[in-house]
Symmetry: C2
Subunit: 715 residues, 2 copies
Amino acid sequence: MGYGLGECGVQERRLWDSGIWDPEFLGFPEDFPGILKRFQGIRGVCREHQDFPGNVRVFLEFRGVCWEYQDFPGKAPSGAAPAPFFPVFPAGIPRGIRKSRDFFPLEARDALEFQEFPESPFPKECSTMRCLARLSSKALLVLCSLLALLSLLLWTRCSHRPPPAPRPPEHPGVADSEEASPQDAPRAPGMPGSAGRAAAGPRYEEIDCVINEEQTVKGRREGSEVFLPFSWVEKYFQVYGRIAQAEGGERFEFSHSYSKVYAQRAPYRPDGVFMSFEGYNVELRDRVKCISGVEGVPLSTQWGPQGYFYPIQIAQYGLSHYSKNLTEKAPHVEVYETAGDGSGSGEWTVPKGCSLSTVWDKSRLSGVKHFSCPESSEGVSLELNNGRDFIISFDLKLLSNGSVSVVLETTERNQLFTVHYVSSTQLIALRDRDIFYGIGARSSWSTLTRDLLTDLRKGVGLSNTKAVKQTKIMPKRVLRLVAKGRGFLDNVTISATAHMAAFFAASRWLLRNQDERGGWPIMVTRKLGEGFRSLDPGWYSAMAQGQAMSTLVRAYQLTKEPAFLGAALRATAPFKLPAEQRGVKAVFMNRHDWYEEYPTTPSSFVLNGFMYSLIGLYDLKETAGEKLGKEARLLYERGMESLKAMLPLFDTGSGTIYDLRHFMLGTAPNLARWDYHTTHINQLQLLGSIDDAPVFREFVKRWKSYLRGGRAKHN
Amino acid sequence: MGYGLGECGVQERRLWDSGIWDPEFLGFPEDFPGILKRFQGIRGVCREHQDFPGNVRVFLEFRGVCWEYQDFPGKAPSGAAPAPFFPVFPAGIPRGIRKSRDFFPLEARDALEFQEFPESPFPKECSTMRCLARLSSKALLVLCSLLALLSLLLWTRCSHRPPPAPRPPEHPGVADSEEASPQDAPRAPGMPGSAGRAAAGPRYEEIDCVINEEQTVKGRREGSEVFLPFSWVEKYFQVYGRIAQAEGGERFEFSHSYSKVYAQRAPYRPDGVFMSFEGYNVELRDRVKCISGVEGVPLSTQWGPQGYFYPIQIAQYGLSHYSKNLTEKAPHVEVYETAGDGSGSGEWTVPKGCSLSTVWDKSRLSGVKHFSCPESSEGVSLELNNGRDFIISFDLKLLSNGSVSVVLETTERNQLFTVHYVSSTQLIALRDRDIFYGIGARSSWSTLTRDLLTDLRKGVGLSNTKAVKQTKIMPKRVLRLVAKGRGFLDNVTISATAHMAAFFAASRWLLRNQDERGGWPIMVTRKLGEGFRSLDPGWYSAMAQGQAMSTLVRAYQLTKEPAFLGAALRATAPFKLPAEQRGVKAVFMNRHDWYEEYPTTPSSFVLNGFMYSLIGLYDLKETAGEKLGKEARLLYERGMESLKAMLPLFDTGSGTIYDLRHFMLGTAPNLARWDYHTTHINQLQLLGSIDDAPVFREFVKRWKSYLRGGRAKHN
């Protein structure tokens, strides 16, 4: 039974059971029943997030433990066995905990909620322990002597050398308990130094393994087979593995890489899902400080704790919500207030000194709620009491300074947190259990849509560092909305999602913030690495330009507003200029045009950013048509030529290279982390669905094989 | 005691104990005493060869077993522990035998003399076996039941599941013998399937290890540590390892690669040792059909079983012997016949019908032996009886068809082999125990110098395939020389080596065979690989041109014969022409000149051949001086620029790439085998000693680290 989940090592605890999750969200309706079949008693999802395009994480609650579902959204069954669960909290395997931490790329770690366990894998009440404790020591003693005798006998008969102190390998019970008890867990089994070569030695023996004549690790030997400790293999070969639960017990699961490739379900379309972004949650990244109340888009702390609007991140925020909107089913929307009709279900409480009335709004041609109460008062409050969904939305027009606050019941026992949306330009603040987001003056009608889960967690985790602090807190129930100051409210709703609001927030931010050169200047200093001159604030990125195109083109297709298409078309300008002229164009060996994610000097030729820019150019040329799209088409075609010619330079035969700095600077290759490697593959898959050049199929096939330890041939 | 060498598994057998070996030959006089100290009873060397520049193999006899000395010639002590012995015949470890085979790069395998052992590591008479056999089965039974009972007891108390059939893990003796006995060796220890998860299971249990969700291997588990079988690790990661002898017992020796870097002792000089070639034995390669009796140089079968003179191989033959001549001490020379004076020690036997007389030779101004006897007769014979050395040399002038034969006692029990050097142009033939080499008419005086060890083994191993058959035969004693036909003989000697004879044979072959374009045409078709047009017979190689330069320049410095320098200077011509004009020059991306080992279409940019050509150009420009050497200097400088710029393209971050076909053809990188990787390093070390650009130091350092599992950083 190994560490029986039911019996040992699990503190029963209720985990947050999210309503916002539905198997179909993640596009494996076909797998999911299979999982349920294999694992009874799944309570539902604990949480789900994607730490990187291509790395989705789904956590399911099972027997009171949060497990990670390690498959990738939309993965076709492809005959493969249903994906296993990897325990994020592998009850009673301390190493396992460290493992599952390491298993995630850096960005992700903080986003995970780890619950450390006491070092002992066996809490006192564990049945195994019980029986071992009860075990008669007398019986053991008798056996002990008997076997000591035997081994001595064997020894003297078999060995021509002086016998080393014989050990008793014959106490399964005791030995096991020693093994399992915390103080013994780390050390190797107690063998005399010479036991490894004992003549009448045990079935298996310890053997020194000398690694490259440099270090020695303790292995195990059985006859002619030698076993190497994974704790060494793991570090030496940079691979991953952990003891995991499977039907009927435990097994060791070895993974060459930690990242999974996105299984593309349909050819790419400029108005369709963007690559794998349907599973990507930008706002959950710990380098997103918060979603600005004024701008409605994420603020990045990637390269500066002060925070800045990073066009790449904003476009990805838009594209991920656009993609979710296409793949998720329409959310249930609970309406609490529409002053137009009586359909709202919410109850208002109006304290003394405050007033609330329904009035006709000419501009909207509908009735709205007019509220008026001093900042000092409690404010008028609307009962919401929703324990299911966490996206709140309302139309707001303020006549004075004011605020709309939402009171939340959270997973922190008996603690109410309040998120205040106030008429200021302050980004975010936390005081005790009050979180503040500035939303600007709002002196004319606008809709405010907020993800209370994100707003709560970013508030609680607020820090001056680059990364938002990790926290276990989750909202459990939206209790009520409170308005102060003077103004109008309408259409108060709560829903599971509001993806289009996020998408348009991003799209309109891009409209507002494009400069006269067609670019989205990035206002932080960026030093790509040793040997590169650093980019001063105001630089453009081909990736930002391209991802913005992909976003704007989609906004245009939905709205037909020419402004969106116009902005996308203007965004091609920097592709025509070299870095010296604030452009993003580089040329490889005077031959191949390249669009730089980071237009460094010397050029860096970052692969993934280049491919994102090509996807943007494709979206644009496809949408703008023959005439308007000519520029984009030429840039796309020249870029694709370069890509096809230069792809081999990024192939190490066992992985990929992030950029060409090794060639430009004469240094070591800058190998791509596994999640960048899968991004390369996801991008090639996408491009392969719009260009049937064999090179894409071949590279996708080979690069996928590297994820499973595959390797190019040697001569 | 593990597999006690003395006690178990070793058939006592006398191995050939060579006289031609001396510690200093291999340049580790400082190590060698250390080895002797660590291992008593070394009888001497079994054999020594180098299968590839940089891969030397030395075999020492110890306790009747041939062991490999795994260090590299000339390796500085560098504080490293004295190199271990790797058993080539790891007595009683069948896997070990396969291992040591695999450990060698392909070319080498056949050259090794493997003695397979019976599958059982323990021959019947093994003491361990004896005692186990004697072991009272009664005692075992009692113990058996006792422990079965115990485990059952444990089981029922600790497990909440129906107990799997308990196994008796308590028979060290029996278990061990089972482990070791042939039929059981391969299978995993007999555990019930569920034992791996047994509650009170042994402290050391079997666990399924699922590899990338694809395959499952049986690992071992101790508490939180998991052990993976090396038999899997080895294949999965393409690494090497074996159980080896060390002081006091056995240990497992893991090697990331099988190849060693040459430790350069002094800066490179055009008249000095050529790179690592002092340890390189061209003639031992199984792709050398034999040493031609007419030409005195090796005939290659690398790309055609018919055999052809390969200028690269011939130059390397010359350079290796030149280098040995500089690093080895002068050989002892036994003189058997100098008709000039009476100093010869040999005794002549003249059968009836034959005549032998000493006559004055005007051209040589010395007395010589005149012999005359019909082909039908036994021939006149000179007693040699030399059991120490195997290089025979004599001056010969034939007046008719005739032959000089050498009778050898060999390691094949009671078998005499005769090597016949006959006045014909036949390359080589074998009839029963007679081996024939044509040496041409020899109608004027010339010196014939032959390595009887090579001539014997190439004769016995003669085949129509590309590879010479492997054979265990070795010469033990040179009994006598026999002359037939009519002619003159003088200066009959036997010595341990005659390196300069081999060197000049190669140098003069290069003089004779250079064509009017300054090249050495290679008369085989060469297809480098899929996607390359094949090279038709008559192609030139920059590597051949460069290695010939290195050889000719050395011949010039010794002899001052202008012909040698002239030929080296003419050899630069093909460097100036592109492949289409039968030249060897390629240009990378219109920018970097490159000299092609294989001037393919498209260009292939083979790294090691390019560097050999640069070394040749360096030798030439240094020797020819400012004026004559101008051409060579310009070619060298342009080439070095290209090398410095393009080196990063060959760096995978964990090894090197053999050529740039992946970029030229859009395919997977053609990874360099470890011995090519070390060749790259050896060449960079050499170039670093004549050009102090930091790039050489940095790349040597990093590329060396890859041999020990080092890896470039990832982003």
